[in-house]
Amino acid sequence: MNDSFRFVLNGAAVQVDGLDPHTTLLGWLRARGLSGAKESCAEGECGACAVVVVAAANGTDGSRYQTQNACLILLPEVAGAEVWTVEAVAGRDGLHPVQQALVQHGSSQCGYCTPGFVMTMFAHYYSAPRRRAAEALAGNLCRCTGYRPIRDAAEALPLPVYGDPFLARLQQAPPAAAAVAYEACGARFDRPASLDEALALRRAHPAATLLQGGTDLVVDSNLRGTRHAHVISLSAIESLRRCEERDGAFVIGAGVTWHELEERLAPRVPLLQQLISLFASPLIRARATLGGNLMTASPVGDAAPVLLALDATVECAAPGGLRRIALHDFFVGYRQTLLGDDEILAAVHVPVDQPTAARFYKVSKRELDDISSVAAALAVRLDDGVVTRARFAFGGVAATPMRALAAEDALVGRPLDATSLADCQRLVLAAFTPISDVRASEAYRSAMLGSLLAKFWHEVAP
């Protein structure tokens, strides 16, 4: 146990001593005068706090730059990391091409969002291949410009040139995630390097909070001032970050981020691909994990309906061994799961064999980066136009994510036609009693249940 750790900031080693583990990277940077990163929401939605982290590249031994929300990173999480902020982007010879593009295109008015856009575009500039500019920028808000000059700048970016030191860095491996055992100001932060160590810590400290990406926990801490006497971060456990195909299933480690999932697995699982494009923002997806989303166990968490529709099972690790639980049985109450006090969610198993047709629908007030009012993951296996298996999984209409079992059973052996639709709609409506809340009324949610089924029939019926 010690009260200091080190990381590399803007190319130079720094040491942190005796700071409260609840300190966010954003708060720490700004307190040191690196005030380019701004706070505008403290919940990972606006991107004004964006910084760049050197992360593992997909499929090579090298690295890539990844933009993340500094407001959602607890400072001990950057132990051993390489972090870049806006202050280090310009070179001695002048502005970086990303900065030049933003200046040339008139991409700033008040300028408050600009450092965040610089960092997002910085990572975009060095990424290969590049996404569509509008997709890359989806996690940054601007209130002044209407976005067009920013998008124009992003689309006009040249390619990196040979000799660019930022480019050269990407040839080497990323920094290894160091183990951390840190205590300061009456709070403790552990980041074990193995699952066994994590399980031992959990057994010794059953009240400690488990942490993956932090994109939910740190929001709560920022907005409500919640403090955790002891945090156990799982982000350095390499075995939780694997994505494998084994025994007819994709085995997804609980620590795999949504971004990694998108690159490694989504092409093989179309329903997941549909979800990922609607899941939060690129900055959030760089940190948030599948396991974290399931363990938050929110009734409007989007991973659960999709995984329920795919007949996923979860793998829970305990000191004594592993056990598998069908996701269908895993949620037992509002934000409650079957995970034992000495267990850690290790992996999610998704059968390789995919449904014939599947759709994920997200009904929310904003098209992107919003919490679902109602979410539906609907899947069928069809044999010669007849349904042999159906899965109707919903979020936002019960205390837990839930399947409409009676409606699923009623569809087996039938085609997707007007009669089967009407029957299933009636059964789905009867299965749930949605509530009215800030996002939607009970009547609206009920109406969506019927509409989403109709939409599915319309899109999928041969």
């Binding site: 700004r30 005030s35 933003l102 040339q104 300028g111």
Partner: protein, 291 residues
């Protein structure tokens, strides 16, 4: 483009400083955090800050007793109390804690206990109309004889239109930073659309001459009307914090505080009757507009 934004080069490098960025560069600064009302309408009976004052890093807990000058601010009617005896909206600040760090101020603010006598609250325009509860006398803008013309129209059409309120959502939240000027006056950095009014407000609240207050606004991170007058109260609180502690004082609202404390472009209700002829031309319109 041949003409770039004057500050574009500073925007893209992070060199452009906003009010809170300046405050963070002053290690001796104190930081303010509000204690907010839990009621929409209530009398404030008692504020007990003893526990808060004893907490680490706390340098001052400001109440109405700390105001030497004007207790009420507001651009036209001066009807906005800085430290209300009677709170008039849920989340209204009733007192402010200043500490060495924002985290300490926030923790101490949670330790302040306030006794309230809840009062009936009128929460919607409809309720206000029914109760005859208005803040102003109605203004009438009229031309011609609307009633007569309506009665004579072949077709009339009447209804109600509800227009929801709108949050300004400036990306930079309200922020002010005040330090003592070497001459003994007050130097205010404020994210404000009206530096003169901010200067005046600070002077009135402190009970000093306007010529002893300098108000500087180098830039704002957006305002959209939300900092036309609402920045004044924040600056006044920072000025009071500076006076009470003798140290440079920073007040900046985080997003939940900003959205719950500051006013919006208000909700509107329109009740209208329109008359038109067979040719589709509008002949008469009577509108009642409530906000």
């Amino acid at each position: 483009m041949t003409q770039h934004h004057e500050s574009a080069g500073q925007h893209v490098t992070g060199e452009a400083l906003y009010v809170h960025d300046r405050a963070l560069r002053v290690p001796t600064a104190v930081h303010g955090w509000p204690v907010q009302s839990a009621h929409a309408h209530a009398r404030v009976l008692r504020i007990d800050a003893r526990r808060a004052r004893a907490m680490p890093g706390v340098r001052a807990v400001l109440t109405g007793e700390d105001v030497r000058g004007a207790h009420r601010i507001g651009p036209v009617r001066h009807d906005e109390p800085l430290f209300p005896d009677e709170v008039e909206y849920h989340g209204q600040p009733v007192c402010w804690v200043f500490a060495d760090s924002e985290a300490e101020a926030r923790a101490a603010a949670a330790a302040v206990t306030v006794d309230y006598e809840p009062l009936p609250a009128v929460l919607t325009i409809g309720q206000a109309i029914e109760a005859g509860s208005f803040l102003t006398d109605p203004q009438t803008i009229a031309t011609g004889d609307a009633d007569g013309a309506l009665a004579a129209c072949e077709y009339t059409f009447a209804g109600e239109l509800h227009i929801g309120g709108q949050e300004h959502f400036y990306l930079e939240m309200q922020a002010a930073f005040v330090h003592r000027d070497p001459s003994g006056g007050c130097h205010v950095h404020a994210s404000t659309q009206h530096p003169t009014e901010t200067q005046q407000t600070v002077a009135h609240v402190l009970g000093i001459g306007a010529n002893q207050v300098v108000c500087e606004c180098l830039r704002m991170g957006g305002a959209f009307g939300g900092k036309e007058s609402q920045a004044n109260g924040i600056a006044a609180i920072a000025a009071l914090g500076c006076a009470a502690t003798g140290r440079p004082a920073s007040v900046r609202l985080d997003r939940p505080r900003d959205m719950s404390i500051t006013g919006k472009r208000h909700t509107f209700l329109a009740r209208y009757a329109a008359g038109f002829g067979r040719d589709g031309r509008l002949r008469a319109l009577r509108v009642q507009l409530f906000s």
